[in-house]
């Protein structure tokens, strides 16, 4: 068995009552020890897919293989898969120690061994002295760490996390993201992380799976998904973007005409046919103010409609002709600009990405 195909989802379908299709055509191959994020809006099928891996939902069609074994006939309580829920799901009538020791008790591990392993894993999440507390005496972040400890103590094959940080405030969330990443590095465990927060997915994952409407839109590394979105949905969902109308002039030489903003030469254009209409995706941070004229670039004359200053960066919103433009730069660069003014912005061809229309 290949380390590449540690967890394999093949053509998963899930329907409810034969009518609602929650998940369709989901196929994915996860490498052992990889950190995968399922990213998408609510109702996109990412949690349903996770639940099918966990065994709480039965696929209507398709198969799931783990370590070469088919999971289809294995009930949820024998899959050796750990889960961390957004609501923590800590057993309220048990202390932290009893919570964390629960999976070991289910596996009939001898008590001395249980104590040892519980101690170890509590230390690992930084809650060594909290063993005798009850869940209701803990803060949100602490509860989440206990949930992690409990899901890790029995050394599962895969760890599933269902929007685990959704209930925490911003600072705590960032802290916990670091914790989770650290645990992943130390333990090397295969993790699948469900979230609707794209920046979270980008920072944590080895690879992203972008879901929309029950389907997978794209699988790739964070950078791939960000710079080379496979569809308009991915381009919009993962980060901000400008979408400019364009037309292929010469596929052999890779020449694209981008409206009134210029004509550029882009290798990617070779994949299209002559005259094809395309959408040019340009991230706001790649539009430069005060840039010198250069070859193979686009130029925009933007009438400023709004300026939002974040202190370190700023977003400039305006129109170039009838085209909506968003531009992101250092705050320093927009100092002195105001609404109503017209400025020139440039973008290099290498930052443009083409999508079929």
């Amino acid at each position: 068995m290949n380390a590449e195909d540690y967890l394999v989802l093949t053509d998963l379908y899930k329907t409810y009552n034969g009518e609602q299709i929650a998940v369709r055509d989901v196929s994915l191959s996860v490498r052992r020890g990889e950190f995968i994020s399922f990213l998408g809006p609510s109702g996109s099928g990412k949690t349903t897919t996770l639940m099918m891996i966990a065994g709480f939902e039965q696929p209507s069609a398709g198969s799931i293989m783990l370590g070469g074994r088919s999971l289809d006939v294995i009930p949820a309580y024998r899959r050796n898969i750990g889960i961390v829920f957004q609501s923590y799901a800590l057993f309220p009538h048990m202390t932290v120690r009893r919570n964390v020791g629960f999976p070991l008790r289910m596996r009939k591990v001898p008590s001395a061994e249980i104590e040892r392993r519980v101690d170890k894993v509590l230390e690992m999440v930084g809650l060594g002295s909290f063993g005798e507390r009850r869940p209701r005496e803990l803060s949100g972040g602490q509860q989440q760490r206990v949930a992690l400890a409990r899901a890790l103590v029995f050394e599962p094959d895969v760890l599933l996390l269902d929007e685990p940080l959704g209930a925490l405030d911003k600072n705590l969330r960032e802290q916990m993201q670091v914790e989770i990443k650290r645990l992943h590095r130390e333990l090397g465990i295969t993790m699948i992380y469900v979230t609707h927060d794209q920046s979270e997915a980008m920072t944590l994952s080895d690879r992203l799976v972008v879901f929309s409407d029950g389907r997978i839109e794209q699988i790739g590394t964070p950078l791939e998904v960000y710079h080379k979105p496979a569809s308009r949905f991915v381009a919009d969902f993962v980060g901000d973007c400008n979408r400019l109308p364009g037309r292929i002039v010469d596929p052999v030489k890779g020449i694209v005409e981008v409206g009134a903003f210029g004509t550029i030469h882009l290798a990617q254009a070779c994949a299209f046919s002559v005259g094809a209409a395309v959408e040019v995706v340009l991230r706001p941070e790649f539009m430069r103010l005060n840039a010198l004229e250069a070859d193979n670039s686009l130029a925009f004359s933007v009438a400023i409609e709004g300026l939002v200053n974040y202190g370190d960066t700023a977003v400039l919103i305006g129109k170039a002709g009838s085209q909506d433009i968003r531009l992101r730069s250092l705050a320093y660069d927009v100092a002195g600009l105001s609404e109503g003014q017209t400025i020139t912005a440039r973008a290099d061809a290498k930052h443009c990405w083409l999508l079929p229309v």
């Binding site: 309580y77 829920f85 799901a89 057993f91 949930a147």
Partner: protein
């Protein structure tokens, strides 16, 4: 800091509301406490304020089988009917809260029906019904009748408890290796237990305090405490009733104290802390 959610009123209005509310509160609470001094009254009749005080009627209560047996009966009937109620209600609640099936609305309606019928109607119905099948004036009849009327109340509490139960707890247990039976026994039941106990208590109290049906079907031998109390007022004019009333109020007060003891303890400890702060 006092929160004000009333929508803004001036001082005079606020004072007026406080006064009126307090007076009404007095009306709600005070009359019941008339029975306390009455229980120590030395008079034979229902004279208030009592002419003199003694504990004679307390002694009489604890020595009279005519009173003690009904107390025992009520406790027995209350316990049995409460348990029977839970046996019937808990499975049905699981089905109604967690499952979808045709006829769900009918079942839910059926379970709530006894709450919609006035006691006197049930009392008459049971009087005729148990009379025909020869069960009048037996424990079985009262237990069955009280179970029936407690079903809606217990159901409401059990259903609410179930609805508030986080299903992820069960999923977590399963993911950690517990099979469905273990999950139910080790996780589901223990977490639901407090709510179930409340339902049990409600069912017990509902039966214990029930008077109308008991009046009609319990008879002399199986007399419940409320029935004995009713008879003692109308027939015997027995002053011991004040003792019983006082004891019952006392039980309720103790129950309330126990039920809220955490809040009360918190009150005391925070009071002590602020006292210490002052002392510095």
């Amino acid at each position: 800091m006092q929160s004000s959610k009333g929508g803004g009123m001036d001082r005079v209005n606020r004072l007026a509301v406080t006064l009126v509310a307090s007076l009404i509160g007095l009306f709600v609470v005070a009359p019941m406490f008339v029975v306390v001094p009455m229980s120590f009254s030395s008079a034979q009749s229902f004279e208030f304020p009592p002419p003199g005080y003694w504990v004679g009627y307390y002694e009489k209560f604890f020595e009279t089988p005519g009173w003690l047996i009904p107390v025992g009966n009520s406790i027995f009937i209350g316990s049995v009917s409460a348990f029977l109620t839970m046996l019937l209600v808990v499975p049905a609640a699981f089905a109604l809260v967690r499952r979808q099936f045709r006829g769900k609305n009918i079942v839910r309606l059926a379970v709530m029906l006894p709450l919609m019928v006035p006691s006197i109607v049930m009392a008459l119905g049971y009087f005729e019904f148990f009379g025909i099948i020869g069960l009048n004036q037996t424990y079985a009849a009262v237990v069955l009748a009280h179970t029936c009327i407690s079903i809606p109340i217990a159901f409401l509490v059990v259903a609410a408890t179930l609805k508030g139960f986080d299903r992820n707890l069960e999923r977590a247990a399963i993911s950690l290796g517990a099979n469905p039976l273990q999950t139910f026994a080790l996780i589901t039941l223990p977490v639901l237990r407090p709510g179930f106990l409340v339902a049990l208590l409600f069912a017990f109290v509902h039966s214990f305090d029930e008077s109308v049906i008991a009046l009609f079907i319990s008879g002399r031998d199986v007399a419940t405490l409320p029935r004995k109390m009713f008879d003692s007022i109308t027939v015997d004019a027995d002053p011991v009733i004040a003792v019983v009333s006082t004891l019952l109020i006392g039980v309720v007060l103790i129950g309330a104290l126990i039920g809220h003891y955490r809040e009360i303890a918190a009150l005391f400890s925070s009071g002590r802390k602020s006292g210490l702060a002052h002392a510095r």
